[in-house]
């Protein structure tokens, strides 16, 4: 079935829903969902150019994000929680006033999230955080923060995803399940592409998956190392030993020594090996130490062949958030700006630690959903303090916040830069207009910054 025919068919299906409308196709659309940051989406709009009819090339999650922006019941104005728990619509100006006042009144506000928005918004947010002396943190704090710490320990030999597509013939997925979490990763970059030096696609690659579960990714592997849960460090260490040809005990992490030697030999014998890793190693026992040694394996492999290691970053622009803070403050997450200069001390300046220890007295959340991802103890603290949630969706975080400010979807209703998991920056595209009168998060932040500066000047 040809692609154009498929397109025609789904267009016709859409056309049934939108009688009398013809589609306009927007090409090269960038998907604002995960760190894979696919940039080959095509979006069909109705004749007026206002409504999204269909999304092509996207995975199910990405398509849903575009289509969800079209929901009839979408919130389009800020809502303030009342004493009785009900929500009352307020204007954006009132929302700006509440947010600015909250940030000014707080001794040490937490400004968290920053992973599902553009770098321009992150940049304005950084200046705002600096002016009010905030603690700023992004979603890496509960995701790849441990990877960032490991990179500070031992560095990271890496490559862009195109290098993998064009050269890699040994691909390891460690503690990650791209079949579900990054659905187009294997077809676009890592397993299936026919690249410049990998003309046979998946046939030119050996795939190794390390996961205690038999995931859908593991089912595809040439070798699945089904290790004992929580023993990643030992197994990585054993692979280092095997790479050097030293002696191993009979089993390590539940894997027989001969299998470990076989994997080591497979990696060494390739022309270009790559390790992709996810939260199975970053947030399990050992945390950053797991990543330290995974990077050390990669370093070691470079003495025999060429090797790279790439974290499977989650949110589509969590990477960008670390970049913006890197160039403005020098650290990728866990920033404490409260003393007038940037301090970085994960475990002390990380958001969950700050919340649990009652060290912050206001919560500002943008571009993430800690209500869904943080421990309930932290969420309870957010619920108890002055709080603002800036998010296009109604989320568990917005539900516990005092003020919910809905904004336009970045990558759907407004463009802006985002960084892929390999740090490649791509400009997301505006596909449709946001609902009338809605602000983007950058616009909202700019208004808050202006108001904060006025208040500070007056005080």
């Amino acid at each position: 079935m040809s692609r154009s025919w498929m397109r025609l068919r789904s267009l016709r299906r859409s056309a049934y829903r939108q009688v009398g409308n013809l589609a306009k196709i927007v090409t090269d659309v960038v998907c604002p969902f995960c760190g894979t940051l696919c940039d080959d989406l095509e979006v069909a709009l109705d004749d007026s150019g206002e409504k999204i009819l269909e999304v092509y090339n996207a995975c199910a999650i990405g398509a849903a994000k575009f289509l969800h922006s079209q929901a009839e019941d979408r919130l389009t104005r800020p809502q303030m929680k009342q004493e009785d728990g009900s929500w009352k619509e307020v204007t954006y100006d009132e929302a700006v006033e509440y947010t600015a006042q909250m940030l000014i009144d707080a001794k040490k506000p937490l400004m968290y999230g920053w992973s599902s928005t553009s770098c321009s918004a992150q940049s304005v947010g950084s200046e705002l955080g600096e002016v009010v002396g905030a603690c700023m943190d992004n979603t890496a704090t509960v995701c790849h923060g441990s990877s960032l710490i490991a990179v500070q320990d031992v560095g990271i030999p890496s490559a862009t995803l195109g290098e993998i597509a064009n050269r890699a013939d040994r691909v390891v997925f460690w503690g990650c399940n791209p079949a579900h979490a990054h659905p187009r990763h294997m077809s676009r970059y890592s397993i299936f592409p026919r690249g410049f030096f990998t003309g046979k696609g998946s046939k030119s690659r050996k795939m190794v998956v390390v996961d205690p579960r038999r995931t859908d990714t593991a089912k595809m592997a040439d070798i699945h190392l089904q290790l004992e849960q929580g023993h990643d460090y030992e197994l990585l260490s054993a692979i280092r030993v095997a790479i050097r040809g030293e002696k191993l005990p009979k089993t390590v992490a539940g894997i027989p020594a001969e299998t470990i030697y076989e994997v080591a030999e497979t990696l060494k014998s390739g022309r270009f090996a790559v390790i992709f890793f996810g939260m199975g190693v970053t947030q399990s026992l050992g945390k950053n130490h797991n990543i330290d040694i995974a990077i050390a394996v990669t370093r070691d492999l470079n003495d025999y062949t060429k090797a790279a290691i790439i974290p499977m970053r989650g949110h589509y622009n969590v990477t960008g958030s670390g970049q913006v803070w890197g160039w403005q403050f020098g650290f990728p997450f866990c920033l404490d700006l409260s003393r007038g200069f940037a301090r970085y001390n994960p475990g002390d300046s990380s958001s969950n630690d700050l919340l649990i220890r009652d060290e912050v007295d206001a919560a500002f959340v943008l571009g993430s959903d800690p209500g869904a991802h943080f421990p309930v103890g932290s969420v309870r603290k957010i619920a108890q303090m002055p709080s603002v949630c800036i998010d296009p969706h109604i989320t568990p975080t917005s539900a516990v916040s005092k003020l919910h400010v809905p904004v336009a979807f970045v990558g759907v209703e407004v463009g802006g830069c985002a960084y892929r998991m390999d740090n490649v920056p791509i400009e997301t595209r505006k596909v449709v207009e946001p609902p009338e009168g809605m602000l983007t998060d950058e616009e909202f932040l700019t208004m808050v910054l202006k108001r904060v500066k006025e208040m500070k000047g007056a005080a």
């Binding site: 490559a159 200069f341 960084y419 920056p425």
Partner: protein
Amino acid sequence: MTDYIIRNGFVYDPVLGINGDIMDVAVRDGKIVDAGDVTKATEIDASGMTVMAAAVDIHAHVAGPKVNVGRNFRPEDKLFNCNVGSGVKRMEAGFSVPTTIRTGYLYARMGFGFSMEAAMPPLYARHTHEEIVDTPIIDQGALPVFGNNWFVLEYIKENEVENTAAYIAWLLAQTKGYGVKCVNPGGTESWGWGMNCETVDDVVPYFDVTPRQIVDGLIAANEMLGLPHCMHVHGNSLGEPGNYGVTLDTLKIAEGHKPNNEFGRESVLHHTHLQFHCYGGESYASKSFESKSKEVMDYVNSTDNITFDLGVVTLDETTTMTADGPFEFHLSHMNSLKWANTDVELETGSGIVPFIYNPKTFIAGAQWAVGLELGLLVKDPMKAYVTTDAPNAGPLMRYPRVYKWLMSAKAREDMLNNVLKYGDSIRARCYIGELDREISLYELAMMTRAGPAKTLGLGHMFGSLKAGLEGDVAVYPYNPESDTDDPEKIEYAFGNCATLIKGGELIIKEGEVVSNGRQKRTFWVNAKTNENPVVERDISEKFKRYYTVTQNNYTVEGHHYMPNPYVIEVDATK
């Protein structure tokens, strides 16, 4: 816009031939004007101080992906190295890899008006531009890297200079780049397979071209386009003992090439951080290693189409970063510190490793000597530009210290006698002990202003106080008559300018930053070429098959990447 008149300073301007005369300098509507042409100007008293056009940096790594890896993976670089924001100033942090905010303030305090980011991976151009936008005050441009680019390798293999030129013009427009940078030609592509090109005649795997062909082809294409800047090369075998032969081979490729441009540029090849490329001997040990700066400078002095920058080692703990991926791998094995690397599809690669130039070792002292020797052996200072290849040989903030060493034999003696542990071996293995030349303020103005501006093709805007040029003026608290007693005064003065006017705006007033600058610009070069269907087809083909972004998503466009662009138009259609 306020007009300014800077009164009674000692003025140095090699373009106008002014050598320390006491005179007034005036700025009106953002441009330099004759002092008699301003009437209601704000007066700035510069009596007893040195006045120069703002400085121009031809080569520094201050913005972009590898710089940011350096920041993010070295939290220790910020320890005891930060400033609290106050007044208009935002918070600053970082020593060897400062934040963009600090980079802007550092340049301002050192009296700079323009800086060229030395290596921009094209696929990461947006990142470089985002950092440039967040670097206050100074004007900037960025050089995309071409020396390992698959298009370039393929065209040059077939001797297709015209296609190479068309591709360069296309890429400059896509990435908003300024000129042609070439890092370890062929070597970084080889590094895609864990290999390297160590001489100009090593063959690049699969692509079957040599570094010699790449450098030659890029020079030819650069001059065919008539770009403002010449081909800017970091040669093969950087940092290797005995590499000076490779360096001479690289420099000699310029023979037979003539500059072709409308910007007054005379060089066709700029060799950057030449210090790293002038080593003799077979190892870093004092029994073997020797300086070959004289041998290289004898050649450079005999040519008229080559320029270079020094890349002086400042004996600090710093962060090395380069598109020379195999070199950083090699370095990480030498010092066993953390190593970051990023290979970039179809284009380039890069590596980052922290490095300590320890004055208690022979080799660091010898490297320090080699860099200074180059500046002291050059006959025409218009060819030699002061850099530290920041942050590779030393942090940006050490420029004034390098000026001190160049300007004072006493300061160098002090280093050899009291600071460097192996001063005597360094005298024996290098030329530094034989050189008593002291660079004058007039020569310093050539090496930091007039020279780099000319070689960047920006002599019509920067580097001089000639009427009509940009209103970029720096006043340093240094009295050339009475402050010559103590070389430390040089270092202090050039790191703490009393006044900086940038584009006609007062940025530093009485030594304090009073503005973040309202008109910071990003420079890029738009070279128009004839339509070239072959190159267009090749580009489209490569994007469809081998890039992981689409061709339409490759172009850097949008206000947020370049709120204030300055486009230099070049017509290469003739």
